[in-house]
């Protein structure tokens, strides 16, 4: 087999890489605040539970309090537009169409976010007396996610002509991957407050998820598709990966590994996206209902059951919102960790897609199809590796390292270990985490929700030829996948939340 060269151009042509670059750019700009160079404090913040529209938007840090909120809103839009447009241009998208589409998506999403933060929508019962309001929908400020998704679905399915014109910018996977890179910061900042043993415990449990996704789910779906529905191997393998592993990327990686016809992963991918939205609309509420007392089980379950990165993270975020609406007393201890349980399990699954594609390729070549003399490239693992994951780990480790360094500095200045951790946490939380997470990361999530809605065409399921595949998908997903996922999430994550809540 000929030697395969690395295609370096993918570093500026692929969405995966651009999520990494944009995430890291934002992270390093925000990191300046820890060293006293506040470069991103001008980004707008939407106040949670606002009552007075005039006070609903502010700048992120006091250093920029001289800036009018309206100017902050405009500058934030221009900044986000600029960084994504540079990426879009490098990836060869139609820049004019992208700018027009992004502008529409941005402002509609912003509006959803703003309305979702209104006290009558967001405030939970403990806040009502303080806000002097008699009632509210208690959806927490993340209600904007729900509004964005619903509005996106309505526009995507009822204004298809218009959606076609803005579709260039409806890229949920890009926005969510960028958000996940930034999510590493929040977790890194929180990690300095957490006992390392708890953190290791938590990450280990997330890692266990891959056993299920690859070894149980895949095998069952493959048998189901092959034996019961008589699919050929060329169809059954990408379908099994699409349903069981990580949706679109896994279906594509598997199809490439076994050399299936290119239209197969495309058809599987369209099903994955549609079903992910169906799951997103149902599972967070269901998870809150059945696992509301086991928040990390519910979060991890979203990572195991929902098959696209965007919808999985979105489902976990929604689950966190709904669980905090039910248990507001948990929010100070668990904020970010329910979402992270979903993201961590999903990321661990993502990481192994390359390995899985490689293994399948080896098995197919050596056992199933027996092509004598053919060898499988080890480089395939790197090609299939989701690159944005590197960004998640980078921001996580850098934020944790900077936080730990601050702790040591405060200790050297004479503070006790406990006080040093508290002070370092305050600096990191009020500076770096506030700038990356106060608006930007959450807003990228909201962009994802609106974009998912826009690209989710429910007509796809009705198209000729999809029926049988959709039936397999539906039966496998709702018949056993989500239930095995629930069982394994429970096995590894039940009661783990107490470690966070009750740690003194």
């Amino acid at each position: 087999m000929s030697q395969q060269k690395i295609d370096w151009s993918s570093m500026y042509k692929k969405e995966d890489w651009w999520a990494l670059w944009i995430g890291l750019l934002v992270f390093f700009l925000c990191l300046g605040v820890v060293g006293g160079a506040d470069l991103m404090g001008w980004v707008n913040l939407v106040a949670g539970n606002w009552l007075d529209p005039a006070k609903s938007v502010t700048v992120t840090t006091k250093q920029y309090s001289w800036l009018h909120p309206a100017a902050s809103v405009i500058l934030t839009y221009l900044f986000i537009l600029a960084i994504f447009t540079i990426g879009a241009a490098a990836m060869g998208l139609n820049v004019k169409k992208y700018i027009a589409g992004f502008t529409f998506i941005y402002w509609v999403t912003f509006l959803c976010w703003w309305v979702g933060s209104w006290a009558y929508v967001a405030a939970t019962p403990p806040d009502w007396p303080k806000l002097k309001i008699p009632w509210a929908l208690s959806l927490t400020p993340e209600a904007g996610f729900i509004f964005a998704l619903i509005l996106g679905l309505l526009i995507g399915n009822f204004a298809r002509g218009f959606t076609e014109r803005i579709k260039e910018a409806a890229r949920p996977e890009w926005y969510i991957k960028t958000a996940i890179v930034l999510l590493g910061t929040l977790i890194g900042v929180k990690a300095i407050m957490i006992d390392p043993r708890i953190l290791a415990n938590y990450l280990f449990r997330g890692l266990c998820a891959i056993v299920e996704a690859y070894l149980i789910y895949w095998a069952l779906v493959y048998v189901f598709a092959r034996r019961l529905f008589k699919f050929t191997r060329e169809w059954a393998a990408p379908l099994a990966s699409g349903i069981s592993v990580c949706g679109v990327s896994a279906a594509i990686a598997t199809a490439a590994a076994i050399k299936a016809h290119p239209r197969i992963p495309i058809m599987v991918s369209s099903l994955v996206i549609v079903f992910a939205v169906v799951e997103l609309l149902i599972l967070p509420w269901f998870a809150t209902w059945v696992m509301g007392e086991q928040p990390l089980v519910a979060g991890a379950w979203m990572g195991l059951a929902v098959k696209t990165d965007g919808a999985a993270a979105a489902s976990a975020a929604m689950t966190e919102t709904l669980i905090f609406a039910k248990h507001p007393e948990w929010a100070p201890y668990l904020k970010g960790w329910i979402l992270n349980a979903g993201v961590v399990t999903k990321i661990f699954i993502d990481i192994f897609i390359g390995v899985w594609a490689f293994l399948l390729a080896v098995i197919w070549v050596t056992s199933i199809e027996r092509r004598p003399g053919e060898r499988v490239r080890k480089l395939e693992i790197w090609f299939r590796f989701p690159k944005f994951v590197l960004g998640y780990f980078a921001t996580f480790l850098i934020a944790m390292a900077v936080g730990s360094w601050l702790v040591s500095q405060f200790q050297a200045a004479g503070l006790s270990a406990v006080d040093a951790v508290k002070k370092a946490s305050a600096v990191m939380d009020g500076g770096l985490a506030k700038e990356t997470d106060g608006f930007l990361r959450k807003f990228f999530f909201a962009l994802t929700f609106f974009s998912i809605g826009l690209v989710s065409d429910f007509r796809v399921l009705r198209q000729e030829g999809y029926g049988k595949m959709a039936l397999v998908y539906f039966l496998a997903l709702f018949g056993f996948i989500i239930w095995i996922g629930l069982f394994i999430s429970w096995l590894f994550f039940h009661e783990v939340h107490w470690l966070f809540i009750e740690r003194t």
Binding site: V211, F231, S367, L491, F493, H494, E495
Partner: protein
């Protein structure tokens, strides 16, 4: 879509069997490690020595007031 009929190969049986057996073995092993080395529930000892003082009432209730 599903194309022509393709017979089920012994290699496929082997793939699925190895996958499921490995899953059961690994799952058991990981669960054992998680339970033994990384318990999710703080022990009463840890609660009493102050690390998990807030957990103590709940743990005592669970242990029947001991």
């Amino acid at each position: 879509m599903s194309g022509e009929h393709q017979p089920w190969l012994p290699a496929e049986t082997k793939l699925i069997a190895v996958s499921l057996i490995l899953a059961v073995v690994l799952l058991g092993l990981l669960w054992w490690i998680a339970t033994l080395l990384m318990p999710a529930v703080p022990s009463i000892v840890a609660a009493r020595d102050g690390q998990y003082a807030r957990a103590l009432p709940r743990l005592l209730r669970r242990e029947g007031g001991r």
